[in-house]
Symmetry: C2
DNA sequence: TTGAAAGCGCTAACAC
DNA sequence: GTGTTAGCGCTTTCAA
């Protein structure tokens, strides 16, 4: 790779002049500019980004922390973040945290040593004091984290809508497969479920809520067990689609017809809900849009210094498919 | 973030000495070493990786080019690459190419400007001459690319096994939903299908092969059409699992029972095949293992200079599930 | 065993 | 308008 010095030499100017034409700042004579551009062209010169970053003290890289990209909810988010970052000239770094604090801390330090430009956090259990010491723009995505700015969805209202819809289509005994208690989205969705169900006669929380940890297997086993114990259950609200699919699979194992014997509704609106049989009814989030917005906020913070923007909340939408009546 | 100079000052030594104790090279007095280490500790000093990279001329980042992380085949691969890279102290960059040459070229140049350490390519239509000019370790993964070292699977033999298995379980008229013609894995799988089928009486290639482009929708429509045109089809070999699931969905739309009326087998062994109803029989690849191996090769090339290693081929394995008899 | 200094490739004062 | 130069934070000769 050619360096700025070689370009300067070929064009017969100083490196400062080359730098000026590249960055379009300062005054440059038209003829000089042409000479420099010709030299750049001829050498196929591309400025070394590492040197630039060292000088500037901050890199044009944006990282995304997710629990695990193998969970089908995250690829779409990752895609949105990458596309948006790229569009503005930033490079995308993916970090799978496994919800592990050690890993997160290690990543954070590695990125800091690379003078990372910004971080989008879907997963973070990094201690508050560490976060405060770090002077890098961050935004929380899909859940709330410490006192970060966040981009989320109205989870509680979405859950209320899900349960009400189940009721409207005839379900009387509705169970909930819940997500991890320490994740705000899961907690909110559970609250929404309770908002509706606690108004029902004889509703007993313990009997109708089982933890599925946002995983397929977790939900499969949880659903199987709770339905066997309470055969009167005729509807299930799973806190995410992956678990919704797990419930579908459990219904199959129990020889229950969906939606006739058991109606199922999920949450998220990921692709996987379309390909199952029956296809999964769900509460859809604007996933791509949210990822995009998170990056826009980060970039805004990086480029301008206005840290004074607010959290944003998107609205969910009921997507009717075949797993409900 | 503290700098090496601050550490040197605090420890009462020169920056060279600090550098020496960090990198454990050159002679250092035990006492000096202790002083320096204490200073590092006290300041919570972490060397600036950008400066190191600038000096060294090559960074500790490894990139992965995939067509699209939203295709469920790639997250597992990405995960393998990331885990393996991290384990050796490298940072992972994800690049979605959309099989678009422009995008790939743009990525390549961006990474080159960051003095990227190595690249794992699942997708690349970058011209050979460009590739040759670039002095960065690269390996092709899951498919063959130009004259890169590759990590693949015995696709053709796997396809033969798939079709034979369909025959063994009673299928007489087996169709093939093929992948993109310009992708070596898809081409090999089609060859394997033909290896078997061309020995059958009255087999007509045109009637039984439909292109699905490795996508769910592509396969859904292709399968629907070909089966309607040739109702005698009683088995389908889809060139990948995503398409296999598409075929399952098509069968449902056509009111065909799987596997009684139509048996379906896929290729890849991704998670999604387990969650459908019926679960998808498939030819499994050791996906994680392959991703891991590709990175090991890259790192080997980066750290030692022995470019003389060979391509590697893994063996597939038949995974029987419910979509075949 | 340690320090001084050059230099990785770039940008931005500052001088002319 | 353009060139000279210091310096971003590090590593590595070369001297001492």
């Amino acid at each position: 790779m050619a360096t700025i010095r070689e370009v300067a030499k070929l064009a017969g100017v100083s490196v400062a002049t080359v730098s000026r034409v590249m960055n379009k700042n300062g005054y440059i004579n038209e003829k000089t500019k042409d000479k420099v551009e010709a030299a750049i062209q001829e050498l196929d010169y591309r400025p070394n980004d590492v040197a630039r970053t060292l000088f500037k003290g901050t890199s044009n890289m944006i990282a995304l922390f997710v629990p695990d990209i193998m969970n089908p909810f995250f690829p779409e988010l990752a895609r949105a973040v990458e596309d948006t970052a790229n569009k503005s000239g930033y490079t995308f770094i993916l970090c799978n945290t496994d919800n592990n604090r050690e890993k997160e801390m290690k990543y954070l330090h590695t990125l800091l040593q690379k003078t990372i430009g910004g971080v989008v956090m879907v997963s973070s259990s990094i201690p508050l004091e560490t976060l405060h010491k770090v002077d890098v723009p961050m935004v929380a995505l899909d859940r709330e984290i410490a006192d970060m700015i966040s981009v989320t969805v109205n989870n509680r209202a979405g859950a209320v809508e899900a349960v009400r819809y189940l009721q409207k289509t005839g379900c009387r005994r509705i169970a909930h497969i819940s997500g991890p208690a320490d994740t705000t989205s899961a907690a909110e969705r559970k609250k929404g479920y309770l908002d509706v169900m606690q108004q029902e006669d004889g509703f007993c929380e313990k009997d109708y809520i089982a933890p599925g940890e946002y995983t397929f297997d977790g939900a499969y086993h949880a659903a199987k067990e709770i339905i066997q114990k309470h055969p009167e259950i005729d509807g299930v609200f799973a806190a995410n689609d992956l678990m919704g699919v797990g419930v579908l699979k459990a219904a199959e194992a129990l020889h229950l017809r969906v939606p006739e014997d058991l109606a199922v509704i999920g949450f998220d609106g990921i692709e996987i809900g379309k390909i199952t049989t029956p296809a999964l009814t769900t509460i859809g989030q604007p996933i791509y849009e949210m990822g995009k917005r998170a990056v826009e906020i980060i970039i805004d913070q990086m480029e301008n210094d206005q840290k004074e923007c607010d959290s944003e909340q998107y609205t969910v939408q009921l997507i009717k498919r075949q797993s409900t009546k």
